[in-house]
């Protein structure tokens, strides 16, 4: 972690107006970041858990709530992976239900584009935007793998290299559908649709043939906020061309600054303003009354997140073979990876094509530090994050934002549903005192919270099939 920077004036050090921090609350996912063995852990299914986190986030004036998606249960060594949280509800119905118990909080969800058609996705997000009074956001991901496809009609139909262009065509088409209703299409006097207020859409592209009339009015935001998590050069270009928010993995300071500068520099080529795209890395926060106490707590959480069996399963993903004979508290396996079985774990994001260098590097690290298997996994699978007193963490978060390592963060708790309570109670007030974070909502829509323009109907070019900008779109992270 970096040292805190004193900054309590209305302007940051270089004299620019103080940037406002944007914060999202990530509902705990189904990887080992989420600790279910803790006595404080509650259901990941009961609506009360979702309502709790959303209400607390709204009390803290956060920008949005974030919910990831699952389409196939993860498998490890041919069986359903049973060591992490398993099972979750459907993303969009949960967000629609949260619209009933919150008033201002943005409602962001991951929805895969591969196993849906543009018409239904456009309709669902327009519906959510209307039902929530303009608070919908879509984290757009693709997953062309046949493993996930086995749950769907078309199976793994999409060649890996085409997933990006299909997603690009899909977004452009969705925007065309949203824009096919004028904002004032329905006359408020007599409930009739104004002549010409709704235009039929006809799209003939490489991936989609859609014609007809969209049946859902334009939402309060015009278009729901679009999140995107791409990280490759293509993914960054796609974000620069298309997204409103980048869900980034670059939460460390220098790495974050480099990513931020790179992505923002790509905006001009698409005729976009620097502030029209927000970069929000996922991060974790661990607090203590002293820095030492926070560090000790962070270590305890890591031990909870990586029990022995989880450490072995983590290594098995890289080794491609059964390692249950090895003691997680002992040294690294002396056998070599099995190159034939590298897909031992299916349904997750990370895949390593050549384990050789990874294994060599880990062996060197473990030997140099005297680490056990579990120690190693705790080190290499960590997400970093902000660890310290509330004051240190607030200073640090503000520094990241003021010095362009990010525009804010998506906070990932390790406990369901109260894992962010101490951040809301202790860190957010300090950010507010510094003038870097809102004390009240000033708008009603998520676009207003994020400082994003509302797109006008008809300003988006029609999709042109295979000429639409293509970019890498990876699955959401952390999960």
């Amino acid at each position: 972690m970096t040292n805190p920077t004193p900054a309590s004036t209305a302007r940051s050090r270089d004299g620019r107006p103080r940037k406002q921090i944007h914060l999202g609350a990530h509902f705990p996912g189904v990887n080992n970041t989420t600790v279910w063995s803790d006595p404080a852990s509650r259901s990941q299914i009961d609506f009360s858990s979702f309502e709790y986190l959303a209400r607390r986030a709204e009390e803290a004036k956060l920008d949005f709530f974030f919910l990831a998606e699952g389409l196939r249960l993860r498998e490890h060594k041919g069986q359903i992976h049973d060591l992490d949280v398993v099972g979750r509800p459907d993303t969009l119905p949960v967000l629609a239900a949260l619209a009933a118990v919150t008033d201002r909080l943005g409602l962001a969800g991951t929805v895969n584009t591969t196993f849906n058609e543009p018409y239904e996705l456009a309709r669902q997000f327009a519906s959510l935007d209307i039902l929530s009074g303009g608070r919908a956001a879509w984290n757009l991901v693709t997953s062309p793998d046949a493993f996930t496809g086995a749950n769907f009609r078309r199976g793994g139909f999409l060649p890996y290299e085409e997933r990006y262009e299909r997603a690009g065509e899909l977004v452009a088409l969705a925007r065309q559908l949203w824009d096919s209703w004028d904002d004032d299409a329905v006359d408020t006097e007599d409930g009739l649709v104004r002549p010409g207020g709704v235009r039929p859409v006809a799209h003939h592209g490489k991936h989609f043939e859609v014609s007809g009339r969209f049946e859902t009015p334009r939402g309060p935001q015009g278009h729901p906020v679009l999140f995107q998590a791409g990280d490759s050069a293509d993914g960054r270009d796609f974000a620069a061309a298309t997204a409103d928010v980048v869900f980034s993995a670059h939460s460390a300071f220098e790495d974050g600054q480099a990513f931020y500068a790179d992505v923002k520099s790509r905006l001009a080529a698409h005729g976009r303003d620097r502030d029209s795209l927000k970069i929000l890395p996922a991060t974790v926060v661990v607090l203590g009354d002293t820095a030492e106490e926070a560090a000790e707590r962070a270590r305890e959480i890591r031990l909870q997140q990586v029990p022995g069996r989880t450490a072995i399963a983590f290594l098995e993903q890289v080794w491609g073979r059964d390692l249950t004979a090895y003691d997680p508290e002992g040294p690294l396996p002396d056998v070599e990876p099995d190159l034939e079985h590298l897909s031992i774990t299916r349904g997750r994001v990370r895949h390593i094509s050549d384990p050789g260098p990874v294994v060599r590097g880990w062996r060197e690290k473990a030997a140099a530090n005297g680490w056990s298997i579990r120690d190693l996994v705790i080190e290499v699978s960590g997400r970093g994050g902000f660890v310290g007193t509330a004051q240190q963490v607030a200073d640090d978060i503000d520094r990241h934002v003021q010095e362009d390592a990010s525009d804010g963060f998506i906070l990932v708790p390790h406990l369901t549903p109260a894992g962010l309570d101490d951040v809301f109670d202790q860190v957010v007030p300090l950010l507010q005192e510094r003038g870097s974070f809102r004390t009240e909502y000033t708008g009603t829509t998520l676009r207003e919270h994020l400082g994003l323009e509302r797109p006008e109907a008809g300003t988006v070019p029609a999709p042109a099939g295979d000429t639409v900008a293509a970019g890498a779109i990876s699955s959401a992270r952390p999960s």
Binding site: I80, D90, R153
Partner: protein, 422 residues
């Protein structure tokens, strides 16, 4: 009105449908009713009443007649108020229709529509008791998505979700997806049946106690209690298990509109609730008998079906005022109302008598009320019709349990996969 008691007496004795309880019914047996009350015997079974809250009402013209409400047609708060009214009337469910293509009617009263599953979910946290029926298509959507959407509404509502199975046979619907041509009814219904099979398997793919959170062994779930559904049908294959754990009702009720021969046959095999259209008592009874016979043929207990007749309702203080309101709506639309089903233009008392008569005669297990104008007719239904039915002893005065299955009198099913192992 025909004498309801006579109708009841002449109901065919061979059908178990009419043997709801073992005594005569109707207003001429008040003495017996009173005696029953004193003996504290089991109450008469309640009729089932749902309300269709789609759009502004069953009449296209209601869209224009809502006056100051028109800006709020898509407002979540307005829908919440309507559901609260229905819940005050202890109605079985509020139903939301859906389809992918809404065409303008003749006078260009183009209507908009929201995704019904999301509407139902939006209404779940702020309601209790009342069921929430969402229509979800099977022709153009993925059964896996349908299963987790409905299961999630069931989780959010603590057991009040139901799925009305939708299918599309229109060119317009097919063109919005561009993946296949419009299908004939028989084909679309056959596809819907495959979807129902997959969805119901996915709903069972987690046993109720699959989540164990066993800290000692480090296992969150007992994976022996998660099941691949391994569906390999004519039109699609689905591996499973579901991503979403088994929901409070396990199998949220499946609602089928029996508006074709194919659909009625499907309903007999698959539905928990069947919606039929009938204009006469005898016609309704024939449909109910038909669908119950289809259920028996499929090896089901016909008493596990609830057959509800669609009633289009214009309720007024007197018959003339109801007719005047209908005339107004027809004037706005420029067409005459042809509902194809029971159409009530009259007072609350008249409607209560029809409900009681058809219910007692074994022509229906209940009704899906389709208010001509949502707020006006729903208010009249809840404030005027329901109390009359309660007085007559044919409608509940409180929800019998917390889930929609409880309200419908349907047991929570055992898990097919758990049973296979045991």
């Amino acid at each position: 009105m025909p004498d309801s008691n006579l109708t009841s007496l002449f109901a065919p004795a061979s059908s178990s449908a009419e043997q709801r309880d073992d005594r005569p019914s109707g207003r001429t047996v008040d003495v017996l009713d009173a005696l029953d009350d004193q003996l504290d015997e089991a109450p008469r079974r309640s009729a089932h009443l749902g309300v269709d809250l789609s759009d502004a009402g069953a009449r296209a013209g209601a869209w224009r007649a809502v006056g100051s409400e028109s800006p709020r047609l898509f407002d979540g708060q307005r829908l919440q108020e309507l559901v609260a009214t229905a819940q005050r009337g202890v109605l079985d469910f509020a139903l939301f229709d859906d389809s992918f293509s809404l065409q303008p009617t003749r006078n260009t009263t183009l209507r908009g529509r929201l995704d019904a599953a999301l509407v139902a979910s939006r209404l779940a946290p702020r309601s209790a008791g009342i069921g929430l029926v969402a229509t979800v298509d099977t022709t153009h959507t993925e059964p896996f998505h349908v299963s987790k959407a409905i299961a999630t509404i069931d989780h959010v509502s603590a057991g009040r979700a139901a799925w009305q199975v939708g299918w599309s046979t229109t060119e317009a619907g097919a063109a919005l997806f561009g993946r296949k041509d419009a299908q004939a009814t028989a084909d679309a219904v056959a596809e819907a049946e495959e979807a129902i099979e997959v969805v119901s398997r996915l709903w069972d793919s987690w046993e109720d106690d699959a989540e164990i959170r066993d800290v000692a062994s480090g296992r969150f779930v007992d994976r022996d209690k998660l099941h691949y559904v391994d569906y390999d049908g004519v039109r699609f294959a689905v591996k499973g298990p579901s991503i979403t754990p088994r929901s409070p009702q396990a199998q949220p009720p499946v609602v089928v509109r029996g508006d074709s021969a194919e659909a009625l046959a499907l309903a007999g095999r698959r539905a928990d609730v069947v919606r039929v259209r009938a204009t006469t008592l005898d016609g309704a009874r024939a449909l109910r008998d038909q669908v119950r016979a289809a259920a028996a043929e499929a090896g089901r207990n016909p008493d596990d079906l609830r057959v509800l007749v669609d009633v289009y309702a214009v309720i007024g203080q007197d018959r003339a005022s109801a007719q005047a309101r209908l005339d107004l709506l027809e004037g706005l639309e420029g067409i005459t109302w042809d509902t194809g089903s029971l159409t009530h233009v009259g007072t609350a008392r008249d409607l209560a008598e029809v409900v009681e008569e058809w219910f007692d005669a074994g022509a229906a297990d209940g009704f899906t009320i389709r208010p001509s104008s949502l707020r006006t007719d729903l208010d009249a239904l809840v404030d005027d019709v329901v109390p009359l039915l309660q007085e007559a002893g044919v409608f509940r005065s409180a929800y019998p349990g917390s889930t929609l299955r409880d309200t419908l009198g349907l047991a929570r099913p055992a898990n097919r996969y758990a049973a296979a192992i045991a």
